[in-house]
Amino acid sequence: MFAAMLAALPFLGGGLLVTLEVSALVVVAALFGGLLLGTGVTWGPLALRLVIRTFVDIVRGIPVLVLIFAVYYVSPEIGLRFGNFTAAVVALSLFSTAQVTEIVRGAASSIHHGQMEAGRSIGLTFTGCLVWVIIPQAVRRFLPPWINSVADAVKGSALVSLIGVVDLMLSIQQVIGRTYRPMPLYILGAIIYFVINYTLSSLSRGFEARFAYVRE
């Protein structure tokens, strides 16, 4: 069994890179998207809040797989020509953005509104309040659930194999197709995904310790 795993490794490198690439793109897009929408949904005008709320609720209410198929098969209908890689990244980014938006909202609204008032009362602008008062406090409540969402993105990326993106998952299945030995390959796959996510959660614990400070 160990020999079978070892023999398969060279054929998984390309797929692993695609998995990491998809994950990285999704995480970065969702981080920026989520920070923007999360700020909007927390402090924006009512109309903006409703629009963001609707987007988040719809996207979070749809299974990721359906979202991937929807973007892949529906986008040509509305004149967008996404390749399968792009469609996969767009769909996963939408999903992850909705998640991060909620995380940002949760972290931001856990900060007492008096903090924003105190910041304003000494003459800080809205942006100044965010940068010097809100974000430094919210970041420690943001990081743990955000790292979870990063791990979700890595795991969720396995779904892109279903629209033919040759990621780690599909590479594994391709090897199985040639060797007819699913067991060692799926175990190997599980180990690789686990190593990635375990590294992430260790990082998360490190961050938490670093951003901890005495509370009120």
Binding site: G114, Q115, A118, I122, L124, T125, G128, V133, Q137, V214
Partner: protein, 260 residues
């Protein structure tokens, strides 16, 4: 309009016919009030009477519907140009930098030390260098008796100490007027004295202050003028001797009876 005893120069705070509603509830009803330079004006009255809302309108933490609030001639909520429009974030920030506010629940920044709490506005609003801001922060912390607590986080301070840092944070910005919103209401009784002592000192130094308080003894001792508010209106106004010690107004008498 009565101008108290100074009346010569333009007041620092001039509130004229201020109106404000929350939905159908009118919380401020044609409120007019002047605070002259160096004056301490105290607002008393029952809860829900509009005291805190009035105070919050003065530094634009609350918008108002009609009338005007001017700080040293500058309209707070609306631009002064030909067309009256609400001020944007940047303009409001500039105006708020000229007023200091101390909150009932302190609202210190919990991630910053006492010194850093005082320094934040000096650095990021007044654009002072770090050394200069620090020196000034330390001077004010010394003034409120907390120099040795400069490196403590708010969570490591007592309520009274936190509120004194709150005062230092506000006055270090060198505001034209200091707004105090029931600053001792959340404190244990034995901590009230240390905070009021700091405010007394500031009053003696000529700091212009608009104070909302339930501490009648303090109001009587420190105020140049006392204003009684109820139902969004000013029902009585005058020197403490007239409003608190020997009130002519029936409502004021009933209200004060609870404090005797």
């Amino acid at each position: 309009m009565t101008q108290g005893d100074r009346g010569m120069s333009e007041p620092i705070v001039r509130i004229e016919k201020l109106e404000k509603s929350f939905g159908a509830v009118r919380v401020l009803n044609e409120v007019s009030l002047d605070v002259g330079k160096g004056d301490v004006v105290t607002i008393i009255g029952p809860s829900g009477g509009g005291k805190t809302t009035l105070l919050r309108c003065v530094n634009a933490l609350e918008t108002y519907d009609a009338g005007s609030v001017r700080i040293d001639g500058d309209e707070v909520g609306f631009s002064d140009g030909a067309r009256r429009r609400r001020r944007g974030d940047r303009e409001l920030a500039r105006i708020r930098a000229e007023t200091g506010m101390v909150f009932q629940l302190f609202y210190l920044f919990p991630h910053l030390t006492a010194a850093e709490n005082v320094m934040l506005g000096l650095r990021r609003v007044r654009r002072m260098g770090k050394a200069e801001a620090r020196e000034r922060a330390m001077r004010w912390l010394e003034r409120v008796g907390l120099r040795e607590k400069a490196e403590s986080l708010p969570a490591q301070l007592s309520g009274g100490q936190q509120q004194r840092v709150g005062i230092a944070r506000a006055v270090a910005m060198d505001p034209k007027v200091l707004l105090l919103d029931e600053i001792t209401s959340a404190l244990d009784p034995e901590l009230v004295g240390e905070v009021l002592a700091v405010v007394r000192g500031l009053a003696e130094d000529g700091m212009t202050m608009l104070v909302v308080t339930h501490e009648m003894t303090f109001a009587r001792e420190v105020s140049d003028r006392v204003v009684f508010m109820e139902g969004g209106r000013i029902l009585a106004e005058g020197p403490p001797a007239a409003v608190i010690v020997d009130p002519a107004n029936e409502r004021v008498r009933t209200f004060l009876a609870r404090f005797r």
